[in-house]
Amino acid sequence: MAKQGVEPDELTQPFWDAANEQRLVIQYCVDCDRLQHPPSDSCRDCDDGGELGWKQVSGRGRIYNYGVVHDCPIRLLQEDQPFNLAVIMLDDDPGIQMYSHLPGIPVDDVPVGAAVEVIFEPSANGQLVPEWRVIAD
């Protein structure tokens, strides 16, 4: 599916740079050692904001949940409707979620709970974007 391109900004530059190197990094707080996603200007758990960094994660996870999108607000994706839109929970920290279109999985036939691994797909402007594919347990 042809996703919109991405124009990295200051907050998310490390995430998108790593994606272009086919690595998945997640923002984390150096002080409390907790991952957080989506990234933010400050740690959501530390009262004083916490010092933030980026941590490479395994790129493994599980399909936590999904819906089927039939009426999408993004014009570029409308030709691909209906499509799966799943939420992945990372093995490194199951509280951390990422979205996936689950390329190759038939619409509305999503194996909730299945193991997945990250892959990287080009978006409209060439920026690589994390996606996920089902793997054997």
């Binding site: 039939h70 009426d71 409308q78 030709e79």
Partner: protein
């Protein structure tokens, strides 16, 4: 299609309501008399709208027009399965909710303004 050809084939027309028919919200350019005209030509007709099925039925009943089907936007493929016709045409005002659904279901498509000028909606001479 000539008038003679029109009379020898079965034509099915699906009407969107809002933005298409004069009774829609917003009103569209197709009058209920135009709908009656194609009804009188023995076309198969019905509505395909995001309005509820019951309110579509009520609308046609209020205007004393007998229709062959009322369906939701996503149900044109079912209409094609149910009715044997030579021409399947949907008329609507939205790119995503009318034209794309129609083309995916194998229907021809006309915008309301195009439909008004189409020979289907001209009286037989």
């Amino acid at each position: 299609m000539s008038e003679t050809e029109e009379q020898s084939v079965t034509i099915l027309i699906s009407f969107d309501i809002d933005g298409t028919l004069e009774v829609g919200d917003p009103p569209g350019p197709l009058t209920m008399d135009m709908v009656r005209l194609v009804r009188d030509k023995d076309f198969l007709i019905g509505s395909c709208s995001d309005r509820t099925l019951s309110s579509q039925r009520a609308l046609w009943q209020d205007h004393d027009i007998e229709v062959d089907f009322v369906v939701g936007k996503h149900m044109l493929a079912d209409v094609k399965d149910r009715f044997d016709a030579d021409v399947y045409l949907h008329i609507g005002d939205r790119e995503d909710l009318d034209r794309q659904y129609a083309l995916k279901a194998g229907f021809d498509f006309l915008w309301p303004d195009e439909a008004v000028a189409h020979p289907h909606f001209q009286p037989d001479i």
